[in-house]
């Protein structure tokens, strides 16, 4: 059986499990927020929230989502429970937590990665959290809306230079500012580096699945003026041939959107399967490079 067919079957399994549970895990105030949590700026986050959010480091691969910006009011049952477009909520939390829950299931079923399979699929950490440095792979969603503090910049720089790998997803240039904002912030993080095109034949598209035409996977949604997907990266020593990819940016793409809804039938199952291939390839790449 080819990997694609296997994945197809597994994606169906994910869907079946999700439906059998009455849908994915719904996060409620009670479940997510610690009692007595008051409204406060969300830079760094309340310690009690972080403690309750995911397991302590346990040697397993744990999906890490970077939390940034936003007010606490953004966290509400409606925001997290809401589905689909225009559901609001903090930008970092888009597709959370279904994307990682589903992705972790696929990772465990498809590969030998010892992936954490908790109720939220992973952990949510801020850039100023020392815990981040226990997880060499991190993802940032809607990175065009990310406004880092000086401490965030310093920490992310250290993280990447020490061997961390950052995946930036759901960053679209249809409004002509998301790319620029992310680039400018990353320029603060790694001023000596620059974003470069990740070639279609790059190793990252062949580590587990073969993705011969990476830019062929369409954005799951979009406007008439959304540019075509593009994969940009920051390479160690600015060397796209031999340099390790430190950051990959899924430009004009929203891979996690596919993952989030892969058990609900919003998108064609073969497209969801394709999206999983990117994620697994990224993981294997980071584990080996």
């Amino acid at each position: 059986m080819s990997r694609g067919i296997l994945l197809l079957g597994l994606a169906s399994v994910v869907g079946a499990v999700g439906l059998a549970d009455g849908g994915s895990v719904l996060v409620t105030d009670e479940a997510f927020l610690a009692p007595g949590l008051t409204a406060s700026p969300f830079t760094g986050g309340p310690a009690s929230l972080q403690e309750n959010d995911g397991p302590a480091y346990n040697g397993q691969f744990t999906y890490i989502r970077i939390r940034y910006g936003g007010e606490l009011r953004d966290f509400s049952a409606r925001d997290f429970g809401g589905r689909g477009w225009g559901r609001g909520g903090p930008m970092w939390a888009h597709d959370y937590p279904d994307a990682e829950i589903n992705f972790s299931k696929i990772v465990n079923a498809t590969t030998f990665i010892d992936a954490y399979m908790g109720p939220r699929g992973g952990r949510v950490l801020t850039l100023d959290d020392p815990e981040l440095f226990n997880y060499p792979i991190a993802t940032i969603i809607e990175a065009g809306y990310w406004t880092p503090s000086d401490e965030d910049i310093a920490n992310l720089r250290a993280y990447l230079l020490k061997g961390g790998f950052l995946i930036a997803d759901d960053i679209r240039d249809e409004r002509r500012f998301e790319f620029d904002r992310f680039f400018s912030h990353m320029r603060l993080v790694l001023p000596e580096y620059q974003f470069q095109l990740v070639p279609d034949d790059h190793e990252i598209f062949n580590t587990f699945f073969s993705i011969p035409e990476p830019r062929s996977l369409a954005l799951p949604y979009g406007r008439w003026n959304t540019p075509a997907p593009i994969y940009l990266g920051i390479f160690e020593d600015n060397d796209p041939v031999n340099g390790r990819l430190m950051v990959i940016m899924n430009g004009n793409q929203d891979i996690q959107e596919y993952w989030e809804f892969s058990d609900r039938g919003y998108y064609p199952i073969d497209l969801s399967n394709e999206a999983y291939k990117y994620g697994i390839n990224y993981m294997i790449y980071a584990f080996t490079h």
Binding site: F112, I113, A158, G163, T288
Partner: protein
Amino acid sequence: MDLLFSFFFKYRPLLFSEGELVFRSSWPLVVLLLLAVGGGLLAVTSYRRPKGKAETLDRAIMASLRLGAFAVLLFALLRPTLVNSSTVPQRNFVAVLLDDSRSMTLPGTDGRPRNAFIQDQLGSETGTLLSALEEKFAVRVFRYSASSDRVEVASDLNYDGTRTDLVGALDRVREELSSVPLSGVVVVSDGADNSGKSLGESIVPLQAASVPVFTVGLGEDALEPDIQVGRLSAPRSVLEGTSLLLDVVISQRGFAGRTLPLVVEDEDRILTESEVQFGDDGEPTVTRVRFTLDDVGARRIRLSVPVQEGEQVTQNNQRSIEVEVREDEEKVLYFEGEPRFEVSFLRRALSEDENIQVVVLQRTAEDKFYRINVDDAEELVGGFPRTREDLFKFRALIIGSVEASYFTHDQLAMIADFVSRRGGGLLMLGGRWSFAEGGYGGTPVAEALPVVLGDPALDPHAVFAQVKVRPTVAGLGHVAAQIRPEAEAAAGVWDSLPPLSVMNHITDVKPGATTLLSGAGPRGDQVVLAYQRYGRGKAAALPVVDSWIWQLHADIPVDDPTHETFWQQLLRWLVDGVPEHVDARTEYESVEVGEAARILTELRDSAYVEVNDASVEATLTAPDGSIQVLPMDWTVDQDGEYSATFQPALEGDYEVSVRATRGADEFLGADVVHLRVGPSQEEYFDASLRRSLLERLSAETGGEYYEPEEVGSLAEDIQFTGGGVTLTEERDLWDMPFLFFLLVVFVGGEWAFRRSRGLV
């Protein structure tokens, strides 16, 4: 003491210890018995009745004294006789082995050179010892240093031997005189033997042939004042850029409490320098030096302490080691059974190391592999190697978290063979599928591992723990457990490092294994890094799952070298000394001009099975560029070993290039070694009298050890203790002064006692 004994007992103790006591009375036994009984009764009855003021006790004492006197007389009447076996004069041979090495020119106990004794006692026909020996034996004199030869007289010796091979000399003498009655061997030496051979090898045949060895020790027990740099242990060949960590033992007398520099040089370049503070006189000081070898080729590394005024021996203040620095790229296979960050971070740590090629076989899913750094499209395409030839191409093997059941039994045996037969380095990492948790218990791989595998945890995640890693005493001085290029810099770093995680609770290492790093965690102490020699290779265990924490952790600075240094050191150590198919070496690191230099080569085929039917030749390139080709022959003693001997004619470096072929065109391999030809200082090390060695040699063969001033009795001692053609001699003992003395004591004692009691 001997004189006193001889005065009372007529003869030297040696005759009593070697002889047998018998009674040769000509009187019939019945008469003697009657005499004994009658005399005894008389002695007792004479004091039976009270006499004068004597009490019962007094009478008992007097009766006993009289009995004693009577017993002495009876003993003399029995005619005690000492029966000895003695060599027949001039019918037996004695071999005299004279140390002809340079150390014999060093000062002896009387301030004169040690060889002065030889000149005095054995140097001419009038020499006291030689005359005494020749009076009783046919004497054969041999000289020995690196080799041994027959000499006519001791004055033929020139004391310039650069090496002392006592074992070889004893063998030579025993074999040469095996057809004649040999009464004994006399060894005159300071006891130095730097041949590296075991003395036991010579003792057993001598015991079997009943040839006693009589040793005469020359020289002082300790040289003072003197400083000596001890023998160094270093790998013969290392990769370019390798850091060597040497424990240098410096012994001294006369410089207690002084601080002196220890300099490490590569030719004329100083590699490092450190201060050494001496302890008490005679107490060795161990100092650790670390240096990096960056220059490729045959390097001569010299460690020296400056010569101080008044030193007895100045040549032993420095030691040299010969190290071949290679610029090869060594292939290491890292087989990881599950995708995890050890792979990426290990590769990153080794990315700057041009001498280590880490080939990664990453299992990503069931029967799905991702290969990195392979040489060609075919390499490892089927997963883990299935033949020894494929596996043995690598010099080291790292097994990550991959369960034992992945391998066939033959593959598990191959991995063990990789270490024991091929001589490779094996490292097993921790993980949910490693060690006992991976089902390795009872497999050939477990045999090779240095740790004891206990019962596996049912769920390795449940035994997940973080341990604080610290070096053991052995680890502090071991090159494989270093986290800083400079040894001093590492001292405070260990405490600051974040803990690492374990999923395999391993607490015990096998006998013979060494723990280099240990970890303190919630379940107590645990092994973090241990190794053992296994056959020709070495096997190590590193049961942690995330050494990469030492790179990424929030408390670790971006430019911190801990993780890189740790892995570079560990892997370089793992591949160092791993033999190739053709492994050439010279018997000694350096020889002198004209001294026999032996080249040895071990030869194995692609599966590392010894080859005895190859055609092997050594091409020697002399310092002047001239080339000589020597055929090498199978030694027969050992499978796969070939040797050739030549005598270098020039001082300098000889390049020895060994090439092996089989049949018409099967090339088996090649190797290059270097031989340094020049003056040797070996004789000046451990140059004090090795009394214990000489005493052992004589004691175990039935001979005696003598100080120079005691050799007067040597010839006679051999006569009574030696082997060869012997006759039996009997010596009367009835007239021993000691018996007369006893008689006087008993009779006089009785008289004095009687007088004290008013009976006289």
